[in-house]
């Protein structure tokens, strides 16, 4: 039995000691470049203190601990608003998957650089015409029969932090004559290679952390392939479940309910403290019940993990419920402020600013599995209900009506 509580205590004490230098207050007013630089230093500090790659194998440069320690650390880290966002995708999926597939040597160098924040990897899956339906992607990789190299052409979209990325993992179509899932192959690419163009996409919330990425005759060697030719969809699915054990937040990565309660004591409705108003009370109570339920489900799955059981499919439920609850609560909190709710704080953080939380909530309901896809997952994987009607099932990709 591992002593998680002691681990958590140590992590918390260390994180507290770092908050002034790297936390929320230290980030106020920084440009994106400055914030990224601070983020890299933060990642290096974590690495030096033994808090990078917590659940990774030692031979990959990690700490060789389990998911429980990783989760404990992430939950504590979340409280301070550290600049860790630049590395979440990188260390969450692309680097761990390439560590599984590539030969020793080079990959350890990359892993170490990624763990220290010196290098960043991105994940090039989605495209303009392929998001939820990932297998419908169109980026082509064609074989140069003379050299065995692959030539990549096409466009990716929504690639998080591609503008800062050194490397990426990509799924491309290598055979359009077979049904869509079967004609895909998985590679890693050098984002600085000739023919790769990255253009940031500005999001509704004002920031530009996603990009469109164009590939024009980008040549890569066959040694950059992960898994078999035609096996790319399977590797993509494997990539997406690596982050199964990641920290959840019953508040959906928005402000805690306690913040609303505090405000409702001073804000007024009809000349009385808002907390006395029935509509406010209903909202607070219902939200508490939802978040408390999510927290209990999460606690239960941690205990199951500790007991050596496999985690269940509760992740889909958690994401679905927590983010839309955060979205509605944020709307409500802004509402309560009346016209002063219109104010915008450019430095507002979604964990403690209702407007920042509200304006960025829609991305949370799309990225990493849209609500509707999560409902499909619950219905099909947990309840055993039938798949949707899929007219493209079994049809060769090049014969599907585009």
């Amino acid at each position: 039995m591992v002593d998680i509580d002691a681990y958590r205590e140590r992590a918390r004490a260390w994180l507290d000691s770092q908050a002034a230098a790297f936390g929320h207050a230290a980030r106020r007013g920084l440009s994106v470049a400055e914030d990224l630089a601070l983020g890299r230093r933060w990642q290096a500090a974590k690495h030096d203190a033994g808090y990078a790659g917590i659940s990774w194998k030692k031979e990959h440069g990690g700490q060789g601990l389990g998911p429980l320690q990783k989760l404990a650390f992430e939950q504590e880290e979340m409280k301070h608003g550290f600049p860790n966002t630049y590395f979440a995708v990188s260390l969450g999926m692309p680097v761990p998957i390439m560590l599984r597939y590539l030969p020793d040597g080079w990959k350890q160098e990359r892993a170490r650089a990624a763990l220290r924040g010196d290098e960043i990897w991105c994940q090039l899956f989605s495209e303009p015409a392929a998001g939820s339906d990932l297998a419908g992607l169109r980026t082509r990789a064609t074989r140069d029969e003379a050299t065995g190299d692959w030539i990549i052409n096409g466009q990716k979209l929504w690639t998080t932090w591609a503008q800062h990325a050194d490397y990426g993992v990509i799924v491309a179509r290598t055979d359009p004559t077979v049904p869509k899932h079967k004609g895909l192959t998985y590679f890693w690419v050098d984002m600085k290679a000739p023919g790769v163009t990255v253009r940031p996409v500005k999001l509704a919330e004002g920031s530009s952390h996603v990009n469109e990425v164009f590939f024009d005759d980008v040549r890569i060697s066959d040694a950059q392939r992960l898994g078999p030719v035609g096996g790319g969809f399977g590797v993509a699915m494997e990539t997406l479940v690596i982050e199964r054990y990641s920290a959840t937040d019953p508040a959906g990565f928005g402000p805690p309910l306690a913040l609303l309660i505090e405000q409702a004591k001073t804000d007024q409705v009809r000349g009385r403290p808002a907390i006395e108003d029935g509509r406010v009370r209903e909202r607070v109570a219902r939200t508490y019940a939802i978040q408390n339920g999510l927290a209990a489900i999460h606690k239960k799955s941690l205990l199951a993990l500790e007991a050596g059981l496999q985690p269940g499919p509760e992740g889909a439920l958690h994401k679905l419920v927590s983010v839309r609850t955060r979205q509605k609560l944020s709307e409500f909190a802004i509402d309560l402020k009346g016209v002063s709710g219109l104010r915008w704080d450019g430095d507002g953080e979604r964990k403690d600013d209702w407007v920042a939380s509200w304006i960025s909530a829609p991305t949370g309901r799309i990225a990493g599995g849209a609500d509707e896809m999560l409902l499909n997952t619950i219905a099909e994987k947990i309840l055993g209900l039938p798949q949707d009607h899929r007219p493209d099932k079994g049809v060769p990709f090049n014969a599907i009506a585009q």
Partner: protein, 363 residues
């Protein structure tokens, strides 16, 4: 105590479900709907034979010394079959009131009888819309009760009631034996008659005042009862969820199972979410029965269980189409029970207020 059920607890749950499923008869339950004042005596016998009445009472009074977690699991199984009597929860609440707030003699007299299932208890706190009245209309003075408690669940057949009355120094809980002269029980026709709901009128009836602040004590008992009831609601909601899922897999329309239509499929997935949140809240509250914040956990359990059972039984009926709205189908048993459990021990508004008061005080 852990949020993961141990082997013994799982066994209790499996065994309870097996016994109740074997004995289930939708026909018997439907007959009870039309028999004001009757309840499912077979079910109640099962509760005592299986030791369920004893589960959460201390061994020194003939109980099994287990707790809310185990009783909750049994209540969940009872909820799944829309059991035909309210006494598992109401008797436990009455017994807890005695255990916590009565003198030794009273405990020794009544608790073994509750544990053995010979005594049935009822809880009468509310005055019409007011679940916990600050100034109850029922009066207790000189050890005598005068006045009325309306619509007491189980009141038509219980042996003993715990009522909230106005005493000489404010609200007080009182224990009153119902089989005595000057107690008038008027059965109420309800949409869920196996609850044997009755108006209780007292005309100078002897009663024992329990210790402690009456409102605080009543709140404590309600929270315990809320957690047992939340499990019952989860059991009912789960039953309706399974019914909806099964029907969606077999019923075909437009050339495919109706479960392949997303408006049906996603509705059932949303219902699953409600049931899982309610289950987690109920279990979490049961495990934290002795926690200083038990009150808010119980309220959360109550709110999400009520929402889950109401919603899922409504949705499951919809998924069944025309067949779902017949007397013959058992869906309405659950719709009735969902509404009954939603209000018997305090409606949503009551529990929302209880929860927000607790949260705002702490914040």
């Amino acid at each position: 105590m852990s949020l993961l059920y141990d082997e013994a607890q799982q066994q209790i749950a499996t065994e309870a479900a097996r016994v109740l499923d074997d004995a289930y008869s939708g026909e018997r339950l439907k007959a009870l709907l039309e028999a004001k004042g009757a309840y499912d005596q077979e079910f109640w016998k099962t509760c005592s034979e299986q030791g369920w009445t004893a589960v959460a009472l201390p061994e020194e009074y003939g109980g099994l010394g287990l707790g809310l977690v185990e009783l909750g699991l049994i209540a969940e199984a009872c909820g799944g079959v829309a059991c035909g009597a309210p006494f598992l929860g109401s008797s436990h609440a009455a017994a807890q009131a005695i255990l916590r707030f009565a003198g030794e003699a009273t405990k020794a007299e009544w608790l073994p009888r509750f544990a053995g299932g010979e005594a049935k208890g009822a809880i009468g706190f509310a005055d019409a819309q007011d679940m916990l009245p600050v100034a109850p209309s029922l009066q207790l003075s000189n050890g005598r009760l005068n006045g009325v408690k309306p619509a007491v669940s189980g009141g038509g057949a219980a042996d003993l009631a715990v009522v909230l009355a106005s005493g000489e120094h404010g609200p007080v809980l009182a224990l009153v034996v119902l089989d005595q002269t000057n107690v008038t029980r008027t059965l109420v026709d309800t949409f869920d008659n196996s609850r044997v709901t009755a108006d209780l009128a007292f005309d100078g009836v002897e009663a024992i005042a329990l210790s402690g602040d009456g409102l605080e004590a009543a709140r404590t008992i309600l929270c315990l009862q809320a957690v047992v009831t939340a499990h019952e609601q989860v059991g009912g909601a789960q039953k309706m969820l399974t019914a909806a899922r099964d029907y969606a897999l077999t019923r075909k329309a437009f050339g495919q199972p109706i479960g392949a239509f997303q408006s049906v499929k996603h509705r059932i997935a949303e219902d699953y979410v409600l049931v899982e949140l309610a289950r987690a809240n109920a279990q979490h509250a049961a495990v934290h029965a002795d926690h200083p914040e038990f009150g808010r956990y119980a309220a959360a359990a109550r709110l999400s269980a009520t929402e889950a059972y109401d919603t899922v039984s409504r949705d499951a009926t919809q998924v069944h189409g025309g067949i779902g709205v017949t007397w013959e189908a058992d869906m309405h048993l659950h719709q009735r029970r969902a509404r009954t459990l939603a209000i018997e021990i305090g409606n949503m508004i009551f529990w929302e207020d209880a929860l927000v008061d607790a949260l705002a005080e702490a914040a």
